[in-house]
Amino acid sequence: MDYNNNFEHKMYAHCETGTLVSLLNNAGYKITEAMVFGLASGIFFGYLDTKVFSFPTFIVRSKPGEVRKNLSKVLNIKLKTFKFKDADKGMQKLDNLLAEGKVVGAQVDFFYMDYFPQWMRVHNNVHFINIIGKEGNDYIISDSYNREIAKLDQSLLKKARWAGGNMAPKGFLYYPEKLNPDVDLKKLIPKTIKKAARNMLNLPLSFIGVKGIYKFADKLKTWSKQVRDIEHFSHEIIKINILLEEQGTGGAGFRYMYAAYLKQAGEIMNSSVLNEMSEQIMQIGDDWRNISYFAAKIGKNRDLGEDRIAELSEMIRKQGDAEKIFFTKLKKVY
C-alpha cells in the first residue's frame, strides 16, 4: 500500500479521541487517549429531550468536535480544519494533502466504512477516521475501531464525507499544522479538572451535568407513556446500554477513561489525591456499568413493568448523588 510507512496504526476506545491521538503521536507529539480526553475536559452528562431527537436520549461526553477544539486550545496547538460545499473540491483537497505526505483526519458516516461487517454498520455522521494514503481508487484508512489498516473505495469515502442529515460531516478534514513543544502539563491539569467539575456542577441548565443525571432518573419513569409499544420501549431501554458501553466510550460512559486521565494526571502532579479521585470515579464507572447491564437485561427480556423502571431510575438517581459528591470534591482539589 502506498502510504506513510512510519504511521503506526492502533485501536483506541473512542473514534474522536483515537483519531486525534494517532494524528498527534504520528506527528511526534506523544500523548495518551485518556490524556486527550481529560485535558479537553470531555467528561459530561446531558439529558436531551428536544425535537431534534425522535425520543429522549442522553450524552456522556462533550459534543462531537469539542474534544478536538478544547485540546487544541489547551495545548496551544494548531489543527488546520476544512469544510467543503463542493464534494469534488473536497476530494481534490484530500488528494493534495495526501500527496504532500500528510495524514488527514476526516469526519464520515460510519455506515460506508465497508471494512466492517454489514451487521455492524449503522448511519452515524460523527465517526472519525485517519486517511493515511491512496492506492489507485482506494484510500488507505486507519480507523481506531478496526484491528488493521484498511482500504476504502473513493466513491464510498465521498458518500461518507457528504452524508446528509443531523451533524452532517460536510467533508470535514483536519490535520495538525503546528505543535507546541513547551506544554506545561502541571499548569494545565488543574485548569482542565476545574473546568470538568464546573461543567458537571455549575452550568445553569436543568438537563446538563449532575442535574441532567437527576432529570434522566425522573423522566425515565415517564418513558412508558411516550413509547409506541413494548418493542419500542425495549429498544429505548437497551439503548441506555448502547450509549454507555458500545459507542466507543471506553466503558461506563467514559467514566473509566476519565479515571485513567486522573491517574495519569496524579503521576504528573505527584498527587495522591488525584490517584484517590481516579479510584472513586472508577467505582462510579462500575455502577454505570451495572446500570448498562440491568438495562440490557430488562430490555432484552421485555421485563419493563413499573417496578423495574423505578428500580432503574433509582440506580440512575444514585449515580447523580455519587457524581455530585465526586465532582464537588474534585473541584476543591485545586
Binding site: W119, N241, E245, T249, G250, Y256, D286, Y293, A296
Partner: protein, 95 residues
Amino acid sequence: MTKNNNELTLEIAQLLIDSLNITHVEAKDVNITTPLFSEENELELDSVDAIEIVVAIQRAYGIRINSELPTREILNSIQSIADFLIKENATEKVA
C-alpha cells in the same frame, strides 16, 4: 495449577454459554478464533450480549475491563478474551 490455552478457552466458552443461557451448542464445539459477534460464530450472539459477557468475565475472574485496552478488541473472540486474562494474570476463577 496454571491452565493451558485449551483449558482456559474452553472455560470461557462454557462461561458464555452459562451466563447467556445458550442451549444450542456445547463449549467444545465453539470456534475460539471466530469473531464473537459475527454471523459465523456458533454462539449466535447479538450486540446486547456484549455487556452480559463483560459483566460475566469481570465477576468470574475478578478483573475490570476498562479503557486501557478497547473492549471491542478484548471481546473480539474467545481467544482474545483468554489473551486478555493471561495478560492481566487473571486466569483463575474467583466466582
